[in-house]
Amino acid sequence: MTQESKVLPQGPPTSKVIEQHGLSEDEYQQILKHLGREPNLTELGIFSVMWSEHCSYKSSRIHLKRFPTEGERVVQGPGENAGAVDIGEGLAAVFKMESHNHPSYIEPFQGAATGVGGILRDIFTMGARPIALLNSLRFGELDLPKSRHILKGVVSGISSYGNCMGVPTVGGEITFNDIYSKNPLVNVFCLGIVKKDRLLRGLAKGTGNQVLYIGAKTGRDGIHGATMASDSFDDASDKKRPNVQVGDPFLEKLLLEACLEFLEQDLLVGIQDMGAAGLTSSSCEMASRAGTGVDLDLAKVPRRESHMTPYEILLSESQERMLLVAQPGKEESVLAICRKWGIDAAVVGQVTDDGFLRIREGNQIVAEIPAHALAEEGPRYERPAAPPSYQEFLQSLNIDMLPDVKNPADVLLKLLASPTIASKRWVFRQYDHMVGTNTVVCPGSDSAVVRIKGTTKALAMTTDGNSRYCLLNPYLGGGLAVAEAARNLVCAGAQPIGVTDCLNFGNPERPDIMWQFIMAVEGIADACRAFQIPVVSGNVSFYNETNGLSIYPTPILGMVGLIERPEDITTQWFKQAGDHICLLGETKEDLGGTEYLKVIHSREQGNPPWLDVDREKALYTCMLTLIQKGLIQSAHDCSEGGLLVTLAECCLTNPSELFGATVILNQDRLRLDALLFGESPSRVVVSVKSEHVKQVKELVQELGVPSTELGQVTQGNMDITVRGAHDLPVSQLSLSLSEMSDQWHHALARQLEAEAS
């Protein structure tokens, strides 16, 4: 075609420029092949972002194939803006999780806020109204002033964006470890609801259809955000320009309402948000998915700053922008809705049939690249992987060298006050977790539960991950995270129906990191397969490394469960004095990698507990059966801090009153610390009305789940007696509720409000 020769030549790039764009010699050769000529600088920039780790998944893609992604309920698996599962009555739940780690370190408030903005757009571009947000956060220990600063900034960023959008932040998790002091993690999960047959996709279908740009004007912000997330790229000429994007939640709220109106009136063929790599990634991905091309005229793109080059416009990561393809003849209606909401909008191009992403500025072509090459034919690497040399040291732990616990009451109080375990109320009271009037179970139980208006159904959601387990044994750590997430859901009375993941790791070019990644993915994949929970979306964040120090491998899972009847919604806290307390599952000598070892013995070593998949599955079936038969008052899974912390939380978390407990434990040849603070998985503490105890026992036995009666809910202290051989008491503790409650409820606020001097 004659047009091809007209691509604006800017001179072939020098090898220095190629290197600055983070492209290897090999990758550059591939670019030459795709183009059949030298790229100009704009084209080089486009390839550079699209083939960055962040956008192309070049190091992870072949491994992610291991995830089970199919299932009866799956409506949309990985590959779209978000995944979707069928929840019945013609509805689908659309969800995904994303990371915003690096920006949140540079500018905690804006970094976290724009992270929330991005994940929300992923959900409403699918045509779904977002109804819940969750977040998983990792920070350094709070004795560092910098960690407190980052935490406060991140929390207020999430709160300001989510609250303004009117989407409740209903849950999440936070853990602390110095390994994150220079690489905090901010992973955000969002879920929305859509009519199944109205699900929208990021498709640029229909030759001749108009391509529209709506939302914020394009500025120079965040140019190279995607490469930044993929490496430590810094272009000297860009240095003066802060690489920070500022979010505008108000504009995004307008975009949300406008998009849902487009959907209601059926005006669109496809839509995608401009996230990483902005206009470039949205246009070429939409074309590539549909097998079409897209022709864009940059002169029509609304701009915030003057004298922007095509390079800058194409790579800008200004927030709150979307690209959409209108149904033929419907452009005017789209524009009218934008006018109503006061949103900038412009027709910027059209769909073509030649498979090219063609960028013009006025009548000049500034770039022309096969869309498929950008979106799908990026490099794929099977990077070398090998266990780190220190792995054996990490796993070696001679527990007999450590003294057993002498004063369990002191240890419990210490654990309750450790920020990883302490109440996160200081954080979630800053999140509007009730807007939308759907939140049945607010933050503070194992899972958040949100009802679905117009049905009797509800969805339970949780995010989980234990990076210490993953450090010690990434395969087991991956599986344990899946198990814990699913256990949290069944404790709320929900059947797990789908999962999304956010895989946060160090530098994939290091074999030890790659090994962690591969093992963790395998662990997650095997567990999901065993529990039949499909992975429908996710995100990978590599290069979480500062000065050569990587974070612990931190895969986070966001899992969704379905509750058919409101009466099955179950919470973790005790409800009534006199109820019986039972432990389902078995306590073993599982001290490796526990919070107890870290807090009390300053060790992060050993092997995490073994995950017995069949036991875990039996537990799920058992829990759901008990709950659906109405036999359970409360259910709380045992995780960080072990049995004693679990019991304390059952006592302390009821929003209307505190309860005590009288509990007798048998030591059963276990170390006392393992019994009280070990973290054996597949365990749940339930409370049962006395008239149901017999029935519960029978059912549990029938379903093959080990169980132990522990005692009763009271209005007094938490009294624990441990009996050894011949039923002789070996340890007795009595903790006042007010003391425990004071430690647990206020520890975080105290540490955060401690001012540095």
């Binding site: 540079i106 408030f109 914020a216 120079r220 912000d221 802060p242 500022v246 108000f250």
Partner: protein, 81 residues
């Protein structure tokens, strides 16, 4: 002495508040309004008397706490009282 500190967003950084106020002023009929940028104005009382050391203090306060130098810049004035 007393310091007046003005903190504004760096050039090129999106100012959503300014934009909303601009639109609202225009809607109110203030047609001559162009760009609006919004920042912070901080008054600090200092019990120092030496102008140079006062200035050093103010600068340090801005860098350390008052301005977020990733996205903001600051100016100040020092008034003897």
């Amino acid at each position: 002495m007393k310091a007046k500190i003005y903190i504004t967003l760096k050039n090129g950084i999106l100012d959503p508040q300014g934009r909303a106020i601009q639109q609202s002023l225009q809607a109110l009929g203030f047609d001559s309004v162009g760009e609006v940028r919004i920042g912070k104005f901080i008054e600090v009382d200092l019990c120092e008397t030496d102008a140079t050391s006062g200035e050093t203090t103010i600068k340090a306060m801005c860098e350390k706490l008052l301005a977020n130098t990733v996205i903001e810049e600051y100016e100040y004035e020092i008034l003897e009282t």
